[in-house]
Structure formats: C-alpha cells, structure tokens
C-alpha cells in the first residue's frame, strides 16, 4: 500500500516533501516482524531453491514419492532477486568540472541543485540530501546503508519487512540462505527430515506422503511398507533373510566370519563373547561351521545356542525355560522330571498319563508302588476291597472285577458267585490265541 501511494506521488511531486504518514510503529505488519529484528543481519545472500523434482515420480503401493537427483536439488536453479547493497558515498564537496553543475539533476525529483547544497552521489546518481531516503518510510538511510529492489531503495528494516521470506517452520524471516521446498521457504536449519530431524538442506530430500524425508528414512518407510528390513549399514532394503547383529539388522554379506573370514550368510550366528553380560557390543559373528566347532550347546527345543544356564537331560541340552513337561509345557525350573519314551513329564502328568496314581487316594504314589490288577496303590493303601484290611506283597488275594479280595472275604462271598468267578477264571485264557490262517 505504501508502495502504491509512493508510486503515484513520485511523478507529480517533484519536491521531495514527505507525506504525512502514520508512524511506522503503528503498522501491524511492522509490529509482528519487528519482534524478530534481532535476527536481521546485514548479509543478504543466496536464495536456494530446492524445488521438488518430479520427473521420476513413481508409485509403489500407497506411496507417491519424488526422487530427485542430488545435484539437481542442491543446484541453485534460479536467482530470483538481485540485491545490491551499497554504501553510499556522501559527497560534501562541489563536484569537479567534469560534470557541469547546472546539468546535474536529482535522480528522484529531477530538480537541479543549489550551489551550496549537499549532494548525494551513489553509483554515479545524484540526489538531494532530502531525496535520498527510504522508498517506504521516507527517512534517511541509517549509516547510509540501503537495499535496492526494482530500482527502489529501502532502509534495512523496511527491506526485511517487505521482502524477506518467512520460514515455514518457525515463522521468522529467513535471512541468508533460503530453502525453497515443499511449497514454502525455510531456514536451512529449520528444514529437517520429519522422522529423524536431520537437516535436509545439503543432503536433499524425498517427498513421501506429504512429508519431507531424508533418503534413509524414506528407505525405512518404504521397507516397512513392504514388510522388509533396511540394512543398518548400507540403508538398502534387505530382500533375503536379514542378519541380526548387536541389535541391528544387516545384509549378511557386509560381514565376515570372525574365525575363518568367510563372507557370511543369514545362517551366521551371533556369539556373546562375554557370556552373562547384557551389553551386546562385544558380540561377534561366526559362520555356522565355525560356530558349531566352538562347542556352544544348542537347545534341543529351539535349536538356538544356549549362552546362559544349560540343562542337560534326555541326552540333549536345553535352555532352562525350554525344558518343559511334554504334556503341560511348563518348565521344570529344576524340579524333578520323569522320563518316558524320550519325553520328560512333570510329576503330575507323568502319573496321570502312566498310571501311577493310587487307586484309593488318587494321589501320585510317592514311595513304593503296589502294582496289580491293572492298578497301582501306595504301600499303605493296598487293602482288601471288601474289608479294607491292609495287605502286603505276601498276602494271597483273589480277584473280583479286578479288585483285590482277601481270602477271608472271598470265603464269605455267596457260594454261587464264587462258583461263577471260578468258572470265569478258568475259562479266561491267559492270552488270546494267535490269529489262525484260514
């Protein structure tokens, strides 16, 4: 607005009278921008344009990303403004005869000069002292420093207010290097990767789903989208099996076996060289062959090396937490286990499965076991099923429905039942006859 007013006034008003304007401090724009005045420096430098290079745009899944070549990004594509910073020379003396006095006119008002008037000479142009003022505020230039833009001269302050770009992140003026990217201007230190916050001004960036990302983060995002890892060393996507080492993932081929030097594949094993220490920065990598030669026990359940407590049972080694009951899969943690047909069981399930529960108390038999009639008993629960009197291994007993019956009780059974039992007993062959070939 100021400029428009000024433009219209310039041709008619030859005398450089200063219009009656409101003081600059009243301007809202001034106030807002004045807050950041301390950032203003005298150096007004390049405008870098990191405009996005969209020639190589291609779509991968949901991502639209722009992949500029670094030299293009870093290149200053266009010099938008030409700013001349001039230290005006104050000519206090009469100019010499080379330039005739009466031909001299003021560059602004085109009037001549009084003989003893002070004349300002800047780059060969002359001004009345009162005409050599800021095009915006009409005040003389402080220390003679002015900024020129489109043939108009501005004091430092007004030049910033009117033309300096605002940073898209912090909202301050950008003085010095301006980064133009993502449809905004930025301080170089304000334009950062949205994931890792590293500066992008010199490394270039990739637009990924409306975010500016550094090359590494973009690769990571892309890899996650594809369900793959990114190599911690080369930042490339790992297409095959990754190798985990010291808490990061890598292409296995970046490493060689600590022992034999062969290039590693994903079968390589990370060995904790200081067992029991939590830090993994001492870990080393070995190829599978060398690893097996080192004699590190392998867990019989998970097939991984055992680096801490080793349980040795059933002819194998186990992680403590992997040596479990074959039935309930709870770890024994040092409790007694029972072996049967190459499997380990906890006490309860061993007896539940293999029948050493006492027929009377239905509890696991702790001591000696009486086994008879397809059943088992604790020593002190082995008794006649009719009179509950204790029996021992020497006691003779009869069988009725696979229950033990002492001789006394058997004799008290109904005679006709005894006869039937005897007949049945005699008729039952000890073994079924083998199948005959017809």
């Amino acid at each position: 607005m100021f400029r428009n007013m000024f433009k219209s006034q310039l041709p008619q008003d030859r005398s450089p009278d200063i219009p009656d304007l409101k003081p600059l401090e009243c301007s809202v724009l001034y106030k807002r921008r004045a807050e950041s005045r301390e950032h203003l420096t005298e150096e007004i430098g390049d405008y870098d344009d990191l405009s996005e290079f969209s020639d190589q745009t291609f779509e991968v899944a949901n991502y639209q990303y722009v992949c500029p070549t670094p030299d293009v990004v870093n290149q200053t594509l266009e010099r938008k403004t030409s700013i001349v910073k001039v230290k005006a020379e104050w000519s206090n003396q009469r100019l010499n005869g080379a330039m005739s006095f009466d031909k001299m006119i003021c560059s602004r008002c085109s009037e001549g000069f009084e003989p003893h008037e002070k004349i300002v000479n800047s780059n060969g142009e002359l001004w009345h002292q009162q005409c050599f003022v800021c095009a915006q505020c009409f005040r003389p230039f402080k220390d003679g420093v002015f900024y020129e833009f489109e043939n108009r001269k501005y004091c430092e302050h007004d030049f910033h207010v009117l033309f300096a770009p605002c940073c898209g992140k912090c909202g301050e003026f950008v003085i010095g290097r301006v980064i133009k990217a993502m449809n905004a201007n930025w301080h170089p230190e304000c334009f950062r990767c949205e994931m890792c916050t590293s500066e992008l001004a010199d490394s270039g960036f990739i637009r990924n789903a409306g975010r500016a990302l550094c090359h590494e983060c973009n690769a990571k995002v892309k890899a996650v989208g594809l369900g793959k890892y990114v190599c911690h060393k080369c930042h490339g996507i790992i297409d095959d099996q990754p190798l985990k080492f010291r808490g990061e993932v890598y292409h296995p081929y970046h490493f060689n076996c600590t022992a034999c030097g062969v290039e590693l594949d994903s079968n390589a094993r990370e060995v904790r060289s200081r067992p029991g220490f939590a830090a993994n920065d001492m870990n080393e990598l070995y190829c599978l062959r060398c690893h097996d030669k080192m004699g590190i026990p392998i867990c019989g359940a998970c097939r991984r090396p055992i680096e801490e407590r080793v349980v040795t049972a059933l002819g194998k080694h186990w992680h403590v937490e992997h040596f479990v009951c074959a039935k309930c899969e709870k770890p024994f943690f040092g409790h007694r286990h029972y072996e049967k047909k190459g499997l380990a069981y906890c006490e309860t399930h061993y007896h539940q499965l293999f029948g050493n529960l006492c027929f009377v108390c239905n509890q696991v038999i702790a001591g000696d076991v009486f086994t008879a009639l397809n059943k088992a008993w604790c020593v002190h629960h082995f008794a006649c099923s009719i009179c509950d009197q204790k029996m021992n291994q020497k006691t003779k007993f009869y069988e009725c429905d696979l229950k033990p019956v002492c001789k006394k009780c058997y004799e008290k059974l109904p005679t006709e039942l005894r006869r039937r039992l005897r007949r049945q007993h005699e008729a039952t062959p000890k073994k079924y006859p083998p199948p005959t070939v017809a």
Binding site: V360, N362, N374, K403, C409, E416, Q424
Partner: protein, 304 residues
C-alpha cells in the same frame, strides 16, 4: 489313613467288643474305624459313633445292618414317631469328615436320603447287599470317586434320575445286578475310568459309552448282548493299560470272529465302514434277544 487299624481283641460279648473298639479309637484319636464281622445289626450297638466327627474311614463289612438303622442311633420305629418324618435324623451323614464308607456284605435294602450329602465321601462300598433301589437324589455326592454296587438288585428302573450326575466318579462297579439297559445319561460321567457291568441282563448298551474317553476298564461279560455301537471303537481299549472284558455274550458272528483275533481287531472292526453299515442293518432287523444266562433266583441278595 495310614494309621494302623484298631485291633479286635477276642472278648466275651460282641456288644462290648464293638463298644471297646469305638472307645479305644476315641482314646487314641484313631480316625479309621474297623468293625468287621461283628454281627452288628443296628447302630444302637455302636453308641457314640455318630458323635465321632473326626473319623475318615468307617468299615462295617460282613455285618447284618439293615437300612432303617443307618438313619438313626435309635430304632426306626422310634425315630418315625419322634421326628414325625420331617427332619433328617442325625445319622451317618453327621460324620462330615468321612472319606471312606464300607458297608459291604450287609443286609441293606434301602439307603437313607442324607447319604449323598456327605461332603468328603470319596469311596462308598455297598457291594453284597440287598438294595432294590437307591434313594431319590442319590447322585448328589459332591466328590464321590468310587462307587461299588456289586451284587445287589438294581436295574435301570429303580435308579434315581440324577444317578449319572456324579461327575467326579472314576470307578463304578455294578456287576451282578439286574440291568437290561443303561441310560444314555452315563455320558455325564466324564471322569469314569472303570465301568463294571458284569453279569447283568444287558440287552443293549448305549452309544454314549463311546464318549467316556477316560475309560480304561470295561467289564460287560456275562450279559445278553449281541451287538456293540460303532462308537465303542473310539474307546482306547486296545492299550496294555486297558482291560475290555466281553466274554459270555451272544455276539453276532462278525464281532465274535474279531474278538477271537483280539481286542484291537475288534475295535478296528467297530470303527470300520463295514460295521457301520451292518450296525444300521442290525438296528432295523435286530438279532434275537438271548435268554438270561444266569438264574438269579439263587442270589443271596434276593432274600427278603
């Protein structure tokens, strides 16, 4: 339970002998009481027994106890008058710590209703009695594991409705009874490992027995069975830990033939498509029901 049983010293009168056993048990705090073959016919002969609340085992085998005396220490006649049939009189059910109750070889014809409320009873032996039925609600035992009803006069008609609701049961002995059919409710006995149905009058078995996956002993010998439901093939009866007795039935020829080859052959055959087809044929065209194989009139349990 591992304490020594109370010794039975020979003494003059049987009455005082039984009394002495109880007093001795009280003195040494013996929780296991043996009163075997004492010619006991009423609980009057056992004064103070129902107040010995600490006992865990009570064995009264080979006596002459009749049902009515189980209820009360006094005679049933007196009990009826005094209680006016209303309340459950104090009796065996008082012994809340009892885990094993053995009444084998007595003269029981009926049982008190309160028996099934005993909270800790695990083993109940009622074999060799004269039971013609079981009381209503008999299946309410909370933790009964072994129930021996061998040699009584029970059949499917005189069982109470909830008989097969004793889910904790792991052994059920019902040999030498009068069952012709077994109710399908038997499938509720999920923990059953032993089922004895030896020498009943069984004509058919329910296919639901095939759901008793824990069964390790199955005695069905000496019945009038001809066919088996194909579901029996699901039972793990061929293992060395299992016993499957099925002799003394009039099995149809294919079953009899497989039985000769062995239990595992029979189970495989029951599972086969061939048998499934012939079983459906047997269902519509039933083989003749064999006559009862045992003359039960001679059974001592029939004495009234």
């Amino acid at each position: 339970m591992n304490q020594t049983p109370v010794s039975c010293l020979p003494n003059s009168s049987k009455m005082s002998k039984a009394k002495r056993v109880l007093e001795e048990a009280k003195e040494i705090q013996n929780p296991e009481i043996d009163l075997i073959d004492r010619n006991i016919s009423t609980f009057e002969e056992l004064p103070g027994l129902f107040s010995m609340l600490n006992i865990t085992r009570l064995t009264l085998s080979h006596n002459k106890i009749k049902c009515k005396y189980l209820n009360n220490s006094t005679s049933s006649y007196y009990c009826c008058i005094s209680n006016n049939f209303s309340a459950v009189p104090p009796g065996l059910a008082n012994l809340t710590n009892l885990e094993i109750l053995n009444l084998a070889n007595n003269h029981l014809e009926e049982l008190p209703l309160s028996l099934s409320s005993m909270p800790k009873l695990r083993i109940l032996n009622l074999s060799f009695n004269r039971l013609y039925g079981l009381p209503r609600g008999f299946g309410a035992f909370p933790i009964l594991e072994v129930l021996d009803l061998t040699y009584n006069n029970l059949n499917e008609k005189n069982l109470p409705g909830n008989f097969f609701m004793i889910e904790t049961l792991r052994a059920l002995y019902m040999g030498d009874n009068d069952f012709e059919y077994i109710p399908a409710d038997i499938k509720n006995l999920k923990n059953l490992q032993i089922l004895v149905l030896r020498e009943n009058d069984l004509i058919e078995l329910p296919k639901e027995i095939g759901e008793l996956t824990r069964l390790r002993e199955l005695h069905i010998q000496g019945n009038r069975l001809t066919i088996l439901p194909p579901e029996f093939g699901n039972l793990d009866m061929a293992g060395h830990k299992s016993v499957f007795k099925l002799e003394g039935n009039e099995w149809v020829t294919p079953i009899a033939d497989q039985l000769k080859l062995g239990i595992s052959h029979l189970l495989d055959y029951l599972k086969s498509e061939t048998y499934r087809i012939s079983y459906t044929r047997y269902q519509t065209n039933k083989p003749p029901i064999p006559p009862p194989c045992i003359d039960k009139a001679k059974k001592i349990s029939r004495i009234r």
